[in-house]
């Protein structure tokens, strides 16, 4: 607990200039991350995905990222050259994306894609990379790694695809993993399986995790701390177990809106948005 935080972010903003004016996707976000699991919850348009991309230096043009501090493992990310980023991405920090249908390369085999991360960072030979990829496939509980290694993404089910994605992004053993809606595109029955695999891997390797989602319940049970984002700002920061004690009205409304089988209600609660929250 007395270690220096892995990631320190102060006053991070991302702006997209457009034809009708500037869109501020992220406004003045500040937080820090240690060896823990941090959830970021928000609805569409809250800026959570953009923030994830900003942490990896992958905000698309013409977006502009500014921050007073953005440091990872003591390294100033705002001063990173593209070369520096290439060394960091995949190796020290990584991201699991939402839908394997789109986030895996359709014309490369699964094995090639997983072992590529090895070849890029670990200076392993081809045979060694292949072996590691097979080990990784085993680690994400794919039953027949030899077979799956030579398959193409379109031949995989959703759950398998996402596990391949996880394998691909964790094989170089990064210190920080950002999971951007990792189970949102999956069937409900498969979601828990994938979450469990993620849970095991993150714990076994001692990684820090940022879990981005719109699903408060999942984040609440998976993470240690939660950030709530709305309109590009972080409106609340609290312990995962203390969500029901949240102070910001938006968070309280989110918690209240969550349906529960234990407390049947006649009507689902909806929230009344206060424009004050956008300030």
């Amino acid at each position: 607990m007395s270690e220096a935080p892995l990631l320190i972010v102060e006053d991070l903003s991302v702006a997209f200039p457009g034809r009708t004016g500037v869109t501020h996707a992220v406004r003045g976000a500040s937080f820090s991350l240690g060896r823990e699991r941090l959830g970021i919850v928000g609805e569409s348009g809250s800026g959570k995905t953009t923030m994830g991309r900003a942490l990896l230096g992958l905000v698309p043009r013409p977006g502009a990222v500014t921050a007073r501090t953005m440091s990872f493992e003591g390294r100033d990310l705002t001063r990173c050259s593209e070369r520096d980023w290439e060394g960091l991405r995949g190796r020290r920090m990584s991201m699991v994306m939402q839908d394997p249908k789109f986030s895996l390369n359709p014309v490369r085999t699964v094995g090639w894609q997983i072992s590529e991360t090895c070849r890029l960072h670990l200076r392993t030979g081809r045979r060694d990379a292949e072996r590691r990829a097979l080990d990784m496939l085993q680690a994400v509980q794919i039953r027949d790694p030899e077979l799956v290694y030579h398959l193409y993404p379109h031949q995989l089910s959703g759950g398998m695809g996402q596990r391949v994605m996880i394998a691909m992004m964790l094989i170089a053993e990064p210190d920080l993993l950002i999971a951007d809606e990792p189970t949102s595109a999956l069937d409900v029955t498969v979601q828990n399986e994938v979450l469990r695999i993620l849970d095991d891997l993150v714990r076994d390797r001692g990684m820090s995790l940022i879990f981005i989602s719109h699903n408060l319940t999942v984040v609440g049970s998976f993470c240690d701390r939660v950030l709530i984002m709305y309109g590009g700002r972080i409106v609340e920061e609290c312990d995962a177990r203390q969500l029901h004690d949240a102070r910001h009205p938006y968070t309280r409304a989110l918690v209240a809106a969550t349906p529960s089988l234990d407390e049947p209600r006649a009507e689902l609660a909806t929230m009344a948005r206060d424009p004050e929250w956008l300030k």
Partner: protein, 323 residues
């Protein structure tokens, strides 16, 4: 199926012509008896659908009739001139691919930046400049004023007949003969027309490549590749590019087919003795058999390449292969 259509159209055209096909066989001064005989021999007294079938049968066996101009069977004429067009188009497509594909990739990767704008302008010109005019201007500049390349025709006049025609492709034949002087001369005659044709191919290929590239670079897997630590250009060439390789092959094939068309005008300007020149000369001399025969050949090659591209597409895409 399409081939039937093509032949139907050419047949239709041949019946449309105001030129009397009988006269072109028997000549102006034939007697009525000779005329009637030829009329019957040509099958012109048969009902129209039957005439078409006879025509189709002849075409399939390679019989396009006799050329009025050369007094040879059209088929042998076509075989004689085709290699020249092949040589021209092939060099042109090579130029188009070698320059066009990287240009398109770079334009797509650097979308809206100066490389993209520049390449798009070059491409835009390729869609707007008339090929025959460009050929003339090219001749004027590079031959007339600068003297960098040779003039019209395939070889300088005093070299003609000195190369043993084995394949009909001048560069190959000269190389096979070991005659490097003629090779050089043939090359300098080929450079300008091939470059001009190649420019059109380049414009089309670059535009399509750019469009494909822009599509791919907006996909999630490209971001995933960057997350893994790939550099931008490595992502472009090793991740995005393989995804466009298959449609690109189709595009190149189609471009090749359309080059055969462009060759018609280019050959006319450069007096290049290929299929295009053959057709236009036949045109000027009202040699209908030759014109239609040439049309069927060009059309068939066109259709053939289209079909081939469709087939290749299905074969090469791993997603479609599984089906």
């Amino acid at each position: 199926m399409t081939f039937i259509g093509l032949t139907a159209v050419t047949f239709f055209i041949s019946r449309l012509t105001k030129i009397d096909p009988v006269l072109s066989v028997v000549g102006d001064k034939a007697t009525k008896a000779a005329y009637d005989q030829a009329y019957h021999a040509l099958g012109l007294d048969q009902p129209l659908p039957l005439q078409y079938l006879i025509y189709l049968k002849r075409v399939l066996s390679g019989d396009f009739g006799m050329s009025v101009l050369t007094s040879q069977p059209v088929l042998s004429d076509l075989l004689r001139v085709f290699p020249a067009t092949l040589e021209l188009s092939t060099v042109a497509i090579i130029i188009g691919v070698v320059l066009g594909v990287p240009a398109g990739v770079i334009a797509g990767a650097r979308k809206d930046r100066w490389q993209d704008q520049a390449i798009r302008v070059v491409g835009l010109f390729g869609y707007s400049v008339p090929v025959f005019w460009l050929g003339l201007v090219g001749l004027f500049l590079f031959y007339g004023r600068l003297g960098w390349v040779a003039g019209t025709g395939r070889l300088d006049v005093f070299y003609e007949g000195e190369v043993t025609p084995r394949t009909g492709v001048m560069l190959i034949d000269a190389a096979l003969d070991g005659n490097w002087e003629i090779f050089g001369n043939a090359f300098s005659h080929l450079v300008l027309p091939a470059s001009i044709l190649g420019y059109y191919s380049l414009a089309y290929i670059a535009r399509m490549t750019r469009s494909f590239m822009v599509d791919q670079l907006g996909q999630e897997y490209v971001t995933a590749a960057r997350i893994k630590g790939n550099s931008f250009w490595r992502t472009v060439w090793r991740h995005a590019f393989p995804n466009i390789a298959v449609p690109l092959v189709t595009v190149i094939g189609l471009s090749y087919a359309s080059l055969l068309e462009g060759a018609v005008l280019t050959e006319t300007v450069f007096a290049w003795p290929g299929l295009g020149l053959y057709i236009t000369q036949a045109l000027f001399n009202s040699d209908m058999n030759a014109v239609l025969g040439g049309t069927v050949v060009v059309g068939s090659v066109f259709i053939g390449i289209n079909l081939l591209c469709d087939l290749l597409y299905k074969l090469l895409d791993p997603r479609l292969r599984a089906q």
